[in-house]
């Protein structure tokens, strides 16, 4: 296996992009990444495209050749491969692309992540995304994704004395960070009081505990590190790419308050690199729900199990903290186009590690972690990234 580097990144604005089509946003992100990597379309060996539910949202399946076609690449006859893993589709697509380059099967590959969600009404968005849970044993009984995360939240409160306002702070942090991100779906700051008094979705979670449905696309160009200097002065090495799975339904987990998929993927990534959680100063974690951000802190090893609540009470996790979370604004503020999320997290971290994140820049970071989940944690994908000097 050879070292793999990110050579170029691209991303659209996230939000309600009603005037733009799926193929338009996919191509915008892809060409940005390709241009930045100073590569031509003919250099690419493959496209890996993360997407959760284009069939349900757009009545369109078979989208990898669609994007290749409208990117003008049909005459090159590249392999285009769609990857689906619920909300983790983007990071799992990145994992496939990483393996393709690391193994030597391809030199340069494109990773895309795209979702167009807001063309359908909100109740349908909820039904489509909740299909990442178990349709036969959860949603049929009235469960939705936010309801299942609420069950995790309530049990966490019961077992560890976590307070409702502890995880609400994740959303306040996300909007604070997102206010500096021109690509973010939401750029307004919010207060703890606003989160606590927002309309209830599934108690204890309210509207401001839940990331929005968004439209958006993100893309990365990967290549072998040994060739990276030809294309960029600041290659970012993918030090680890790990995916782990767990039971699809929350009810079957060993412990509903611990996401074992996160724990296992993180353990594998730390073992591969020799890194420790306490040495990581920058992370993009999956805050689709405020409580999922809290769980990530614990399950990634940043704080002890059960200490997520008190950590959010006592620390800022902002730019001044020893660990900065979600400088992009996370899923909550930057937005949540399902299949694009895991790719967009890495776009943000690459810009941070290059020192190109402008107003959002976390000073002096050389290593970073991204954490992307599907469903209630049946899939977890973790990437460790490092600036190479």
């Amino acid at each position: 296996m050879r070292d793999v580097a990110v050579l170029g990144v691209g991303q659209t604005r996230f939000g309600e992009l009603w005037d733009r089509s799926f193929r338009e946003i996919g191509i915008e992100a892809g060409f940005s990444a390709l241009t930045q990597a100073k590569l031509g379309s003919h250099d690419l060996g493959a496209l890996y495209l993360g997407n959760m539910a284009s069939g349900a949202f757009l009545d369109q399946e078979h989208i990898a050749p669609l994007i290749l076609d409208y990117a003008g690449l049909a005459p090159h006859h590249l392999p285009g491969i769609r990857v689906e893993a619920g909300g983790a589709s983007g990071a799992v697509a990145l994992h496939q692309a990483y393996l393709a380059v690391a193994s030597g099967a391809h030199d340069f590959v494109m990773v895309g992540g795209a979702e167009k969600m807001t063309d359908v009404p909100e109740d349908l968005q909820l039904a489509i995304t909740s299909a990442a849970a178990d349709q036969e044993w959860e949603t049929v009984f009235g469960a939705t994704l936010p309801a299942l995360w609420a069950l995790i939240a309530r049990r966490h409160m019961q077992e560890y004395g976590t307070r409702r306002e502890d995880f609400a702070r994740m959303s306040v942090l996300a909007h604070e960070m997102g206010s500096k991100n021109p690509r973010a779906h939401f750029r307004n700051r919010i207060t703890l009081d606003q989160v606590l008094h927002a309309p209830p979705v599934a108690e204890p979670l309210g509207m401001l505990d839940c990331a929005p449905s968004s439209d958006g696309a993100a893309a990365l160009v990967l290549g072998p590190l040994e060739l990276a200097r030809r294309y960029t002065d600041t290659p970012i090495r993918i030090a680890a790419s790990e995916v782990a799975c767990d039971t699809l339904a929350l009810q079957h987990r060993r412990d509903p308050t611990t996401l074992d998929a996160t724990v296992f993927a993180a353990r594998a990534a730390y073992r591969r690199t020799g890194w420790e959680a306490k040495g990581i100063r920058l992370a993009e974690v999956h805050d689709a729900y405020s409580i999922s951000g809290l769980l990530a802190l614990e399950d990634l090893g940043f704080v002890e199990k059960g200490a997520g609540g008190s950590a959010l009470r006592d620390r800022s996790f902002g730019t001044g903290d020893t660990l900065t979370l979600n400088p992009s604004g996370g899923l909550k503020a930057q937005g949540q186009p399902f299949g694009a999320v895991g790719v967009a997290q890495v776009v943000e971290l690459v810009e941070q590690l290059r020192g190109e994140a402008k107003e959002r820049q976390v000073p002096g970071v050389t290593r970073a972690l991204s954490h992307n989940l599907g469903g209630t944690g049946a899939t977890a994908a973790i990437h460790l990234l490092e600036r190479v000097n």
């Binding site: 909820l126 039904a127 049929v140 009984f141 009235g142 939240a153 209830p200 599934a202 339904a249 009810q251």
Partner: protein, 162 residues
């Protein structure tokens, strides 16, 4: 959900039929063909035995849902819970015939047979289990208007008129 997809799982959703591994004794609901807890789980193929859940349990976690799942719009707000059964498995289901404010972790409940949802005015009606407060909690179960409350049966819930 299509008729065949729902119909296939009828024995479990109506009668709480699970399975138990004859090697390690682990209990599962819904039934599994392979035991995930046996070290040599491949050997458990064909050795899973039927297990009848009693329908008893206690609330392990719960939420009051205001933004409903598809087909549950008329039931808002409703209580959804993880219910831990004495046999081992945890089930996901609604807790009904109780005020949301009266539900708490540890509340003892009993499975009851109810209508879950219908697919539009002319679509398929889905039936299955929900949970009512157990009688030993000191409350009489309340039937929906115009319906009688079936006697609880130890061997599991039986279809009631809905």
């Amino acid at each position: 959900m299509t008729i065949a997809r729902f119909w296939r799982e009828t024995p479990q959703r109506y009668n709480l039929g699970g399975s138990r591994c004859s090697s390690c004794g682990s209990a599962f609901f819904p039934p599994r063909a392979v035991c995930p807890t046996c070290p040599e789980h491949r050997r458990s193929l064909g050795k899973m035995e039927p297990l009848q859940l009693s329908g008893e349990g206690e609330v392990y976690s719960f939420t009051v849902v205001h933004d409903p799942a598809e087909g549950f719009e008329m039931q808002v707000p409703y209580v959804l819970a993880l219910v831990k059964t004495p046999e081992g498995p945890i089930l996901t289901g609604q807790v009904v015939d109780v005020l949301p404010a009266e539900v708490h972790v540890g509340l003892r409940v009993q499975a009851t047979f109810r209508k879950l949802r219908e697919e539009g005015k002319s679509g398929v009606i889905h039936y299955g289990y929900k949970f009512a407060v157990a009688r030993e909690e000191g409350r009489e179960p309340v039937a929906p208007e115009g319906e009688s409350v079936p006697e609880p049966r130890r061997e599991g819930p039986r279809p009631a008129r809905t």
